[in-house]
């Protein structure tokens, strides 16, 4: 699964630590999600979508999707 977390975070000029605090997770978790090493749980994905005010499918998508 791929995601646009890094792009959206950069648009807001947030650090990984800042985003981690806003989502109440560790910085390591944000780093692992951004690098594609870890797929977040559905509650965390929904929380991120709400934070960026975007639908969840605009943040996370499957590898075979354009």
């Amino acid at each position: 699964m791929r995601n646009r977390l890094k792009v959206l975070r950069a648009e807001r000029d947030w650090s990984q630590a800042e985003l981690a605090t806003r989502l109440a997770v560790s910085r390591q978790t944000i780093n692992a999600i951004e690098t594609g090493k870890y797929d977040p749980s559905l509650p965390l994905a929904l929380k991120a979508a709400r934070l960026f005010a975007q639908p969840v499918e605009a943040l996370f998508f499957l590898d075979d999707e354009p």
Partner: protein
């Protein structure tokens, strides 16, 4: 119009500063929690090791009474249970990735420990050496070592 603009700008700057302070406090709180958990685990671990070594040392003095020997030998158990309680409490406060790392560490350590114990057990069947056998006395020590190996491996995977 101009004063309203300056007023709004001041309010916006103040709000941004508030958000920055809140985020910084949040980051500090997360760091503090991790440090506190690590410190508590370390203290509980050192306490347990100290009691374990003390217990072994007292037993080595050659106390004859069997009941006293059993009680002294089992003395480290409550301290180790406390250590595990601190660890489990820490796991409950972790986020989903950190819990996954803990799970993967245990998922590696548990089957490897079974393989090691099975090997020792089968070797004991082939060459019985009694209760003085290394495996019976010290085999449990490899379980935390395997867990820490699993933890190191899982942390590397998600770095």
């Amino acid at each position: 119009m101009v004063p309203i603009f300056f007023h709004l700008r001041r309010r916006l700057t103040a709000a941004k500063a508030d958000v920055s302070r809140a985020v910084a406090r949040g980051e500090a709180a997360v760091e503090e929690t991790h440090t506190l958990f690590g410190l508590r685990l370390l203290v509980a671990g050192l306490f347990w090791i100290s009691v374990y070594l003390l217990s072994r040392g007292i037993l080595a003095l050659g106390i004859v009474d069997q009941t006293a020997r059993v009680l002294i030998a089992l003395l480290p158990i409550p301290f180790f249970i406390y250590y595990l309680w601190v660890w489990m409490k820490g796991v409950r406060s972790m986020d989903e990735l950190q819990r996954r790392i803990e799970f993967e560490a245990l998922a590696l350590a548990f089957p490897l420990a079974i393989v090691a114990y099975m090997t020792m057990g089968l070797l004991d069947v082939a060459m019985p050496r009694g209760l003085d056998d290394f495996g019976y006395r010290h085999g449990w020590l490899m379980m935390p070592l395997l867990y820490y190996f699993g933890l190191w491996r899982a942390r590397r995977r998600y770095q």
